[in-house]
């Protein structure tokens, strides 16, 4: 009897120990994946927040469903303009964050080594009616605190933009507006955040979030991560993420904009960003130089029903071309080198303002409905989110070793011959040109792959170093870039992708299909 009891006791004790042990393992494992803050989404907003939080002694993780930052959403496909800030309605978050964000770009772009040009913008009026609207915009600008604006006559416009249509009457000139390389900026933010300790996981889509004992469990298709705070910066899908956690549902509607990019030969046609006066018919089509010297035309504006319908259409492109001709007739659309679609994340809230703040669930912070001027606002949004986290109780001590500067990027094209020669002597890979259209060397491509948050696909390389972005659109260099990726990442060429997922470039080894056919033939003869 006693024996029996003892046995039962022993067994029970063993069981309890086992449970405790398992729980310990679980906690240990969870601790490995335990963060102070998890940011969902690696667009400009998520990456700006990551970089801002990397200034503090906290553990931060960013989760992105695509294979790279600035790859899945609006941050790679937009007008790339730093808006001055006269558009948003005074008093809105958009107005405040736009103007503040705009001011922050000089220092950021210097620290992060990102090309940006304050080329200024014009809102061009082609009739007296439209001139009246200029004054309204000017007034708004004053209220929003925009500096350096003026309304200028057609003569002065012509001086700034000799190729604008002769029907020009007047324009609102805003000198603080600028142009930037949008994905370049996001990549730089992410790199710098990673340098300062932020962790990134890619190819992981958040599929559910639950909260237990003040800890969020964020599940992705393959894994799970834990944190005290969650920042929802999922762009078009911020509604889905919010609705996983909060009872206060909202929804985000997709509205697409189509663009064309013209050859550098057409780049001379615009010196500034040329907007049209917003009318009942819409905001109009802009004509703008890009930081790389091409000409950008677009966007159209069309509500769509599926967030993934990111395609260009005949109609859309035609509309963009026609719209742009209202400002600048002279461009030759046959010089188009590529076209793309961006999708705006339009929230179903009054006034369509940004949704930024802690939700009804403590520690869950929404940064949603970030439409234009979201890119311009992003650094200011990051500051705001930092303050929200502080107010929500996150202890944030400043790091003493935060490095605001990204490791500089070597751009062969911009070096003097002496600099090039020194570089090539040190690292011969910089003497081998891989992309002939944009003069990109093997050294630059290897660097783009090896950097923190480095390139993993053909498009990743393209966005970092412009290989494949020129006239021939990668016809010449993509086989060579594929070879470098396969070598550097130590993967089979067959697994190299265009942009992650199943976007593989090659489908089989030569002779494989014939061999299969032959096998089938043999089978059928048996």
């Amino acid at each position: 009897m006693a024996e029996n009891r003892r046995a039962i006791y022993n067994r029970r004790a063993g069981y309890i120990w086992l449970c405790l042990f398992l729980r310990l393992i679980l906690i240990a494992e969870r601790d490995g994946k335990m963060y102070d803050v998890i940011i969902i989404g690696g667009g400009v907003v998520g990456s700006s927040i990551a970089r801002e939080l990397s200034k503090y002694d906290i553990k931060v993780l960013l989760i992105e469903k695509e294979d790279d930052v600035a790859s899945g959403g609006a941050s790679k496909a937009n007008s790339a303009i730093l808006h001055a800030g006269y558009d948003p309605v005074p008093g809105t978050l958009k107005a405040k964050l736009n103007v503040r964000g705009n001011e922050m770009f000089d220092e950021l772009c210097k620290d992060l080594d990102v090309p940006m040009k304050r080329v200024g913008s014009l809102v061009a009026a082609f009739s007296q009616d439209e001139v009246d609207s200029l004054y309204k915009l000017y007034d708004r600008g004053l209220k929003n605190g925009v500096k350096n604006m003026s309304i200028i006559s057609s003569d002065m416009v012509k001086e700034i933009e000799p190729n604008i249509n002769d029907t020009i009457v007047a324009a609102l000139y805003a000198k603080t507006a600028g142009i930037i390389c949008p994905y370049g900026f996001v990549i730089a933010l992410a790199e710098n955040a990673a340098q300062n300790g932020v962790e990134f996981v890619f190819n992981q889509e958040v599929v559910s979030i639950d909260r237990e004992d003040d800890v969020f469990r964020v599940k992705t298709q393959d894994s799970e991560y834990f944190s005290k705070y969650v920042v929802n910066a999922a762009g078009l899908y911020a509604d889905v993420i919010n609705n996983m956690v909060s009872d206060k549902h909202f929804s985000i509607h997709p509205r697409k904009g189509e663009y064309l990019i013209l050859d550098k030969e057409e780049g001379y046609l615009a010196n500034t960003v040329i907007f049209q006066v917003p009318t009942k018919m819409g905001k109009g089509i802009l004509v703008s130089p890009t930081v790389d010297g091409n000409l950008l035309i677009g966007p159209t504006s069309e509500d769509i029903f599926n967030k993934e319908f990111r395609k260009t259409t005949y109609k859309g492109l035609e509309k963009a071309i026609k719209g742009a001709k209202k400002s600048v007739e002279k461009f030759n659309e046959r010089k188009t080198i590529t076209q793309f679609t961006g999708v705006r994340a339009v929230p179903d809230v009054d006034g369509e303002d940004f949704i930024i703040g802690e939700s009804d669930v403590k520690g869950f912070i929404n940064v949603a409905g970030i439409e234009s001027p979201g890119f311009t606002s992003s650094p200011a949004i990051a500051e705001m989110v930092r303050e929200i986290l502080k107010d929500a109780g996150l202890k944030m001590a400043e790091k003493d070793n935060f490095n605001p500067k990204r490791k500089p990027v070597i751009r062969f094209n911009e070096l003097t011959d002496e600099e090039r020669n020194e570089l090539i002597k040190r690292e011969p890979a910089y003497g081998k040109i891989i992309c002939r259209c944009e003069t990109v060397t093997e050294g630059e491509i290897i660097d783009a792959i090896r950097r923190p948050v480095g390139a993993k696909s053909i498009d990743g390389v393209k966005r970092r170093v412009r290989a494949g972005m020129g006239r021939c659109q990668g016809g010449f260099c993509s086989p060579r870039v594929l070879e470098i990726l396969s070598r550097e990442l130590n993967v089979d060429p067959l697994s190299v992708t265009k942009f992650g997922g199943n976007s593989n470039i090659l489908t089989a080894k030569a002779k494989e299909y014939v061999a299969n056919l032959y096998k089938e033939l043999l089978k059928s003869e048996v």
């Binding site: 188009t336 011969p428 003497g431 942009f499």
Partner: protein
């Protein structure tokens, strides 16, 4: 600064041919610069037959054709700098190039021969709307993957454009066990050589859909299909003829563009139609001492013609160095008249004509039983019957020196080539 008598840019058949010719005409101080790791240019990936029928009277593959020239270049000890990219050329004939061993170099030349070949027109240039997934390749890139790297870029294929490379790849893909569902051509005729249509499509039962185009590309990560439609006379798609073809790959064979970024840096004027430099009877550009030949000058169908052109450019460069090429004289303009798209060369210096001038041209459309008529001052100076003309096949017309003279035995101002349909 390095110095050479003749610097040749590009080691394709044009560059190699020019080097061999210049050497045989007595020049020893020659440098060929090539950005790839091997000489031969585009020919190295053209492993099919059909090269050299005129030049060697036998049917060679691309690499074999190239090899004949490479052997001579090696035998003569002509210097080729491989893996070296020319970055720009100045109008006073200084070539700036870069490679891993020497870094950035400046090379002074007495004469330069441009032989950079051409590149393929990408998707943007033809603006097909839709998504931007993996699985869209230009025909030449696909050819490089299959023939040089040993990989297949896809299994179920639609080809847009019936240029020669597209046709050749249709056959290649089929032989590799892939399925080519259709070759779709915007124009009512193919832009490729007739022999390629027969040997590459007809023999394999691959449909050629003329007056059709791709109006949409579908697929998120990899191409899943394309929508094609017939087009009207103005090349606008007729939407109710739209048809969906599922495929994992779209190959573009929609034209070649002479590679003239370098030429522009030297101040060379380009012909807006050919995309190549404007040249005279000696293949000399508007910049004295800079010559052009091969696909950089005009896109050729046959390598044999490239070789001929390269000889002429090299002969002229040799004359130029010796001071025998006349820069002054009476210039005659060669013009493309009705139904002719372009004429090369675009000008002729009467003083430099030895015996005759050979003109290259393409018609704007397909013509049967028509004439090419050459006129000067309203008077016909030559007439040639043509069984069949198509834009895909270059026409060569030779004109004797005396034909350039008017009744008073003065050189004429211009001559015009036109198609006459009877």
């Amino acid at each position: 600064m390095m110095e050479y008598d003749i610097v040749i840019i590009g080691a394709g058949p044009a560059g190699l041919g020019a080097a061999v010719e210049a050497y045989e005409k007595g020049v020893r101080d020659i440098l060929i610069i090539e950005r790839d790791s091997y000489p031969g240019g585009i020919l190295q990936q053209c492993i099919h037959n059909g090269f050299g029928l005129i030049e060697f009277k036998e049917e060679l593959s691309g690499p074999e054709y190239a090899e004949r020239f490479i052997e001579k270049v090696n035998k003569y000890g002509i210097k080729i700098m491989l893996n070296t990219m020319v970055l720009n050329i100045s109008s006073d004939k200084v070539v700036k190039a870069v490679n891993q061993e020497n870094g950035v170099m400046e090379i002074k030349a007495k004469a330069i021969i441009l032989a950079m070949g051409c590149r393929e027109r990408p998707r943007g240039a033809i603006s097909i709307p839709g998504t931007r997934p993996a699985g869209i390749f230009t025909a030449g890139t696909a050819q490089r993957y299959v023939n040089m790297e040993g990989y297949m870029p896809g299994k179920e294929i639609v080809i847009l454009g019936s240029g020669d490379i597209g046709l050749i790849m249709a056959r290649r893909f089929t032989l590799e066990g892939a399925t080519v569902k259709a070759v779709v051509e915007l124009m009512p005729y193919s832009s490729g050589l007739t022999r390629n249509i027969v040997q590459c499509l007809d023999d394999f039962g691959i449909p050629l859909l003329l007056s059709h185009t791709v109006i949409e590309i579908r697929g998120k990560e990899r191409v899943e299909g394309v929508t094609i439609a017939q087009v009207d006379e103005n090349k606008r798609p007729i939407l109710n003829t739209a048809k969906y073809l599922s495929c994992d790959t779209l190959i573009l064979s929609v034209g070649l563009i002479p590679e003239n970024e370098l030429s522009k840096s030297a101040g060379i004027i380009l012909d807006p139609v050919t995309g190549g430099p404007l040249v005279n009877e000696s293949m000399e550009t508007n910049v004295e001492g800079i010559f052009a030949c091969g696909n950089v000058l005009q896109v050729h169908d046959l390598v044999d013609n490239v070789t001929k052109e390269s000889r002429l450019a090299a002969d002229s460069a040799v004359k130029y160095i010796k001071g025998l090429l006349k820069q002054e004289g009476k210039f005659i303009n060669a013009k493309a008249g009705s139904c002719i798209r372009y004429v090369v060369p675009q000008t002729v210096n009467y003083e430099n004509i030895d015996d005759k001038v050979k003109f290259h041209m393409r018609p704007t459309d397909v013509f049967k039983n028509a004439y090419i008529s050459v006129k000067s001052g309203g008077k016909e100076i030559m007439r040639r019957k043509m069984q069949r003309m198509t834009p895909g096949e270059m026409i060569l017309i030779e004109i004797k020196k005396d034909k350039f003279l008017d009744n008073d035995l003065h050189p004429v101002d211009d001559i015009t080539f036109e198609v006459e349909v009877v």
